[in-house]
């Protein structure tokens, strides 16, 4: 009986020592698991990317023409990648990618190439097909591409030199087609074109929507010589330029809903948002709307 007590006690002591061993090594074990799990997450993300994302973003992440490259320095390199700055993103890169994948991208980027299809929502939270852990995995996989850019010099943001409010600045030659694309992406048409006869929020551009049958291209030249004109423009181009960058310079009398307290309801931010080329394109397009 004595030996039973001794062996039993010994077993108990050894068990406790084993627990002690676990207690000592547990920190490392947990850290190792964390690393291993993150690694497996990247693997899972790779599989998911190949099945769901590669069709548009390319298997190698370089883009296919249907959607922008995700394996690219403007997204992954440096502390503030260009695309985050462009979106005015205050969070981390990981959050940015996560949000974009989970919620999709309903609106096109103003400063990057536009693509015919918008990024759909992927998370089940927003009606997409992926569970949240799957979205996390894809994020991990995309971020893993970034490791290759860790030491690369960040690519500067696409040059947007704000056009400013000086009407006399020399604009480059405008391209009407590019301008038409730009007014769609920028959202101008939401207020300035009356589709289907509804009253527009701002002055409508096309001739058929104007009570006098004059398009914005025609009207721009006429405003300058109106009696109460308060702006500085001397040509039709300058008038359009002025209306975009300083909406309050001259408020056309007649329609009270376009302005309140002498201030136009049009956003006052375009002088800082658009560059000279954008402006020239838009003006060129508007001038075609006689």
């Amino acid at each position: 009986m004595t030996w039973r007590v001794i062996v039993g006690t010994l077993c108990f002591v050894i068990t406790m020592i084993l627990f002690g061993y676990v207690a000592v090594t547990e920190q490392d074990r947990m850290a190792t698991f964390d690393i291993a799990y993150q690694a497996r997450q990247v693997e899972t993300g790779g599989q998911l990317y190949e099945l769901n994302c590669a069709t548009c973003h390319g298997l190698d992440g370089q883009g296919t023409g249907r959607a922008p490259a995700v394996n690219s320095p403007d997204l992954l390199a440096g502390k503030t990648p260009a695309r985050l700055t462009e979106a005015g993103w205050g969070g981390t890169l990981k959050d940015f990618i996560h949000t974009t994948i989970a919620g999709g991208r309903p609106q096109a980027s103003a400063k990057f190439a536009d693509y015919p299809q918008r990024m759909p929502t992927w998370s089940q939270d927003f009606g997409g097909p992926m569970r949240s852990d799957q979205v996390d995995a894809v994020v991990a996989y995309v971020l893993n591409w970034g490791l290759a850019y860790a030491n690369a010099t960040p690519v500067p943001q696409p040059t947007v030199v704000p056009v400013g409010t000086d009407l006399t600045v020399a604009l480059p030659t405008g391209d009407a087609a590019a301008g038409q694309a730009a007014v769609t992406t920028l959202g101008c048409t939401a207020c300035h074109i009356s589709a289907g006869g509804a009253a527009p929020v701002g002055p409508a551009w096309p001739a058929e929507s104007d009570p006098n049958g004059q398009g914005i291209g025609t009207r721009a030249g006429l405003r300058l010589s109106e009696a109460g004109y308060t702006g500085d423009a001397t040509t039709a181009e300058q008038y359009l330029f002025e209306s975009i960058v300083s909406p309050d310079a001259y408020i056309v009398p007649g329609n009270a809903t376009y302005a309140a307290n002498g201030k136009s309801i049009m956003p006052h931010t375009y002088s800082t948002l658009l560059d000279a080329q954008h402006m020239a394109d838009i003006i060129a397009y508007l001038e075609t709307l006689k």
Partner: protein, 552 residues
């Protein structure tokens, strides 16, 4: 005059005897009350193995105490050793307690919701100190408990202890066996990984076959908590696992134990006259008192088993955790847990209603009915040749059926997928994921087309590293058996001139992309284009730190 006059007897004692003697006396008294009859001297005597004084104070806890009244005061000398009981009943109880303790620990970190259950597992593994150990112990304890309970049943059958007067003890034992199996099985679903979802889906799909169809549909709906396993189903199985089954188990454990106290421990069959049960009539000179002999033995077994289980869980046994459950992806070669493999084996024989429901029902019925059918008076082995032979045949057929339940027997998936599944299984890490990451050298690139040149399984000897050679050799073996083997001839799906290719690409930092491509009956024009005939491709990503073998 005081309304309330406190009176502390201990202070009177201190006045009469002095502080130290009064304190010792009081301590002794408390110990005696807690042990329901043994004072400090008695306990010392028990631990030193002194012969009991008369009257024997060591029988008092059996009469007055809660825990010990569940155990007999003394055993017959013939049943104190390992034979004939092997202490399997005690060890089953021990594992029940063991599972409750480790289970409570896991419960603290677990929420039964498909949204977070899997994340909880990751948290237990990554952030909870002792988390992995507790999970491993819980899983290992569950497996061992099933084994111990099955052995306990086998032992009871072999020594004939189910016979009169212990028929009902046997029935409660069968109930406890099913509680054990269901406890283990219901725990499968909780981690919400692929293994859990599909193992339980297979198990539950059986009830779908209950005729008539309306009943089957309803039972199926109840068991799954909806048309598919999801939040409702997980909560149900969780409640089953942590509430209903343990409660049923506890109740029947009480009955089972009570019956043992009432009937006594059966003697070895050869030790008593045929047809008599002398367990309760133990001659005074044949008695071994529970305290200290049996108690120390039981504690020794428990200490030893705990040590083995803990050491096993720390150094080698790790509960698997597969990818997150996905009801859209059925992993190839999903199986039921090993103790239900026999059902899966029977299902391969034929009809789902008969082999999935009626046959297991008959087996259960027979198990319950044994003591009432087999009523021969003798427990001796020599008199029970037919019964014991049938029992052995039953065990053997269960083993064969269990083998038939494994994917090795009659699985009719296509051989091209089987080849790749050998290296890249969908239910466990497997050879590729467990091989050395750095030894998987990227395939050379063609100077003409800049696309990678695949490694050919048939040319495994020329692979750059031994690891790769082994993998490709395994691959080639699979390719050869898909072209010509007993198995593929039987299933009539042998491939014509199959070729195995493998492409390894350095894909991202620390990530390799590995593509397996099997084609047969001619070379497809393009490499792995979806929908191509006579070609099967599977791609996997392998990260340097994935650490599938879970080394600390």
């Amino acid at each position: 005059m005081a309304v309330f006059k406190p009176h502390i007897p201990f202070l009177d004692d201190v006045k009469a005897k002095g502080f130290v003697p009064a304190l010792l006396f009081k301590t002794n008294e408390i110990v005696e009350r807690m042990t329901a009859g043994l004072d400090i001297d008695d306990i010392r005597g028990v631990l030193r193995g002194d012969p009991p004084p008369r009257p024997n104070p060591r029988v008092k806890p059996h009469a007055d105490g809660f825990w010990f009244h569940m155990r007999p005061t003394y055993y017959h000398n013939l049943v104190t050793g390992l034979y004939p009981s092997f202490r399997l009943g005690w060890l089953s109880t021990y594992f029940f307690a063991f599972e409750i303790i480790t289970g409570l620990f896991l419960m603290i970190y677990y929420t039964p919701s498909p949204l977070v259950a899997y994340e909880n597992m990751l948290n237990i593994l990554a952030n909870v100190p002792f988390g992995r150990l507790m999970r491993d112990l819980h899983k290992l304890g569950a497996e061992l408990m099933v084994i111990v309970v099955l052995l306990h049943m086998a032992r009871t059958f072999i020594t004939g202890n189910y016979k009169k007067p212990r028929q009902f003890t046997w029935v409660t034992g069968i109930i406890l066996l099913f509680v054990t199996l269901l406890l283990s099985f219901s725990g499968y679903l909780l981690p919400w990984d692929q293994l859990s979802l599909w193992a339980v889906t297979i198990g539950v799909s059986m009830v779908e076959a209950i005729p008539p169809q309306q009943v089957g549909d309803i039972v199926n709906l109840i068991a799954r908590g909806g048309p598919q396993f999801n939040a409702g189903g997980l909560l149900r199985w969780y409640l089953l696992h942590v509430l209903l089954l343990p409660l049923v188990g506890l109740v029947f454990l009480g009955v089972h134990y009570y019956k043992v106290v009432i009937h006594g421990h059966g003697l070895p069959p050869e030790a008593e006259p045929v047809g008599e049960d002398t367990a309760k009539r133990v001659p005074t000179d044949q008695r071994t008192y529970f305290m200290p002999d049996i108690l120390t033995r039981e504690m020794l077994y428990v200490a030893l088993l705990t040590l083995i289980t803990v050491a096993w869980a720390i150094f080698s046994f790790h509960a698997p955790l597969e990818p997150h459950a996905d009801s859209l992806i059925t992993p190839l070669h999903t199986t039921a847990p090993w103790y239900f493999l026999f059902v899966q084996g029977m299902l391969k024989i034929g009809d789902k209603v008969f082999w999935g429901l009626i046959a297991p029902g008959i087996i259960t019925g027979l198990l319950v009915a044994i003591p009432y059918i087999e009523v021969g008076p003798s427990r001796r082995y020599g008199d029970r040749r037919v019964g014991l032979t049938l029992g052995l045949l039953f065990a053997a057929s269960m083993a064969v059926l269990s083998y038939m339940g494994t994917p090795r027997y009659l699985v009719s998936s296509s051989p091209d997928q089987e080849i790749v599944a050998e290296i890249l299984p969908q239910t466990h890490p497997g050879p590729l994921r467990e091989s050395d990451w750095s030894a998987l050298t990227a395939s050379p690139t063609s100077a003409l087309t800049a696309s990678p040149i695949p490694y050919l399984a048939s040319e495994w000897q020329s692979a750059p590293t031994p690891t790769l050679q082994n993998l490709l050799k395994l691959y080639q073996e699979g390719v050869e058996s898909a072209e010509d083997s007993v198995r593929c001839h039987r299933a009539n799906n042998c491939l014509k001139a199959p070729v195995g290719e493998m492409v390894i690409q350095d894909w991202q930092t620390d990530i390799k992309r590995i593509t397996f491509r099997v084609y047969w009956d001619g070379v497809p024009a393009d490499f792995c284009v979806l929908g191509t005939q006579h070609e099967f491709c599977q791609t996997v990503y392998y990260h340097k730190n994935a650490n599938y073998w879970q080394k600390p």
